[in-house]
Symmetry: C3
C-alpha cells in the first residue's frame, strides 16, 4: 500500500505570472506549496486525519493534494478557487474543490454545497466543514488556487 496521509492543511492564494504555468506556479508559492511535487488526488480525507495549520514537508517531496484552480488570460477577470473538507463524526471526510470566474465567497459557497451533497448522498451526518478560498483580479495572466494538502 501507499501510506495513507495522517494530516491535512488547507492552502489558497492567487497570483499573476507571465504565462499560465508561471501564474499557477506563483499561486502555489503564495499558498505555500510551490516547492513540492503535487500529486493530485480525488478526494477523501482519511479517517482520523488531523488538521495542521502549517504544512511542514521538505522541498521536492511528493505531496498528495486535492485542489481546485482557475487560470485566465483575460485582463480584469476575477478568478477564484476554493476547497472544502467535510468532516464526519468518526469516519472519513470528503473534500470538494472548485475554480472559476467568480468571487472568493461564491467559490467557497460552491464547495460547501458540494460537500453537503456528498454527505447527503452517502447518508453520513456532516459534523463540520473546513473551507478555504482565494480570489484574484487578472492583470495579464492570473491564477487562483485552493487545495487540501494530505501529508504524514
Amino acid at each position: 500500500m501507499l501510506p495513507t496521509p495522517k494530516r491535512f492543511t488547507l492552502v489558497a492564494a492567487g497570483a499573476e505570472g507571465p504565462t499560465s504555468l508561471n501564474a499557477f506556479d506563483h499561486a502555489l508559492l503564495a499558498a505555500g506549496v510551490g516547492n513540492l511535487n503535487l500529486i493530485r488526488v480525488s478526494s477523501i480525507l482519511p479517517p482520523g486525519a488531523e488538521e495542521v495549520e502549517r504544512l511542514e514537508v521538505p522541498p521536492g517531496s511528493l505531496l498528495p493534494i486535492a485542489y481546485g484552480s482557475f487560470t485566465s488570460e483575460e485582463p480584469g477577470t476575477q478568478v477564484a478557487a476554493a476547497v472544502a473538507v467535510g468532516l464526519s463524526r468518526d469516519s472519513f471526510g470528503v473534500i470538494m474543490e472548485f475554480g472559476g470566474r467568480c468571487s472568493r465567497d461564491e467559490a467557497e459557497a460552491e464547495v460547501r454545497r458540494r460537500v453537503e451533497e456528498a454527505f447527503r448522498h452517502r447518508g453520513i451526518p456532516l459534523v463540520a466543514v473546513r473551507a478555504i478560498a482565494a480570489e484574484h483580479r487578472v492583470e495579464r495572466v492570473g491564477c487562483a488556487f485552493a487545495g487540501c494538502a494530505l501529508w504524514y
Copy 2:
C-alpha cells in the same frame, strides 16, 4: 521506489449529480471507489498482477487507478466510459480507457481496439482482454466512469 501494485479490479458505473464534480463523485461511489483517494495513472498492468473481483482497501487510501470518464450537462445525452486491460503471456499488460458520448458497447469496442493497437505496436502477443463499461442517460448532470484500480 513507490511500491508496484500486485492486484487489479475493474469498476464502472454511471450516475447523476447536481454538479459535474458531484456527478463524478456519485459515479465513483456507485463503482465502489468513491471513498478513496484516486491517483490517476497512465496505464500499465504490472507483470504478475492478479485480477480480484472485489476491491478491498480502507477508506481514504491512496489508490492508483487508470480510468476514463465523461460528464455532460446536456439532458438526454447518453454518456459512456470503458476501460480494457490487455494481458500478455508472462509480461506486463496494457490498460486503455475512454469516455464519451456513446453507448456502453461502443465505449467497450473502442477500448478493445486501443488495447489491440497497443499490443500490435509493442509486438507482444495479446493473450486476453478484460474490459468493463458503463453508460448513463443524463437527466441534468450525468457522469459515466470506468477504471482499473491497481492495489496491493
Copy 3:
C-alpha cells in the same frame, strides 16, 4: 511520507497513432516511458537529485513524472513538447513543461523562459538548465511528449 525521488531522466519523442490515446502511448514508448505507470507531478526537482541518462525501472512501476504533451488530429500540423529543469547551487530545482503547435526549438525556448521566471520569482540563482524537446508533423493523429521522470 511517500519516498522522495533521487534521480531524474529527461525523455522526449513524437509519434503517430490511430487514436489520441494510442498516439500518446506511442510517444511514451518512443520516449522510453511507455511501459510504466506515469503519475503526473507538478513539478520540483528534489534537492540532490542526480541526472541519469537512462531510466532503469521495471515495467509497471509507478513513476512520478513532470511532463508536457500535445496531441493533434489535424494532418500537417506541427506539434512539439518540451521540458526544462532549472538547477540551483545546492537546493531544489524547478521543472517547467510545455506542449503546443510549434517547433521543437520554440517549445524549448518557452520552457527555458518559464524556468528563468520561476527562479527569478523565487529569488534563487539559476545555475544551469537542462532541457529536452521533441516535435512531430501530424499525419493523422499525432502526439509530442517531453518529460522529466523522477525515480530512485
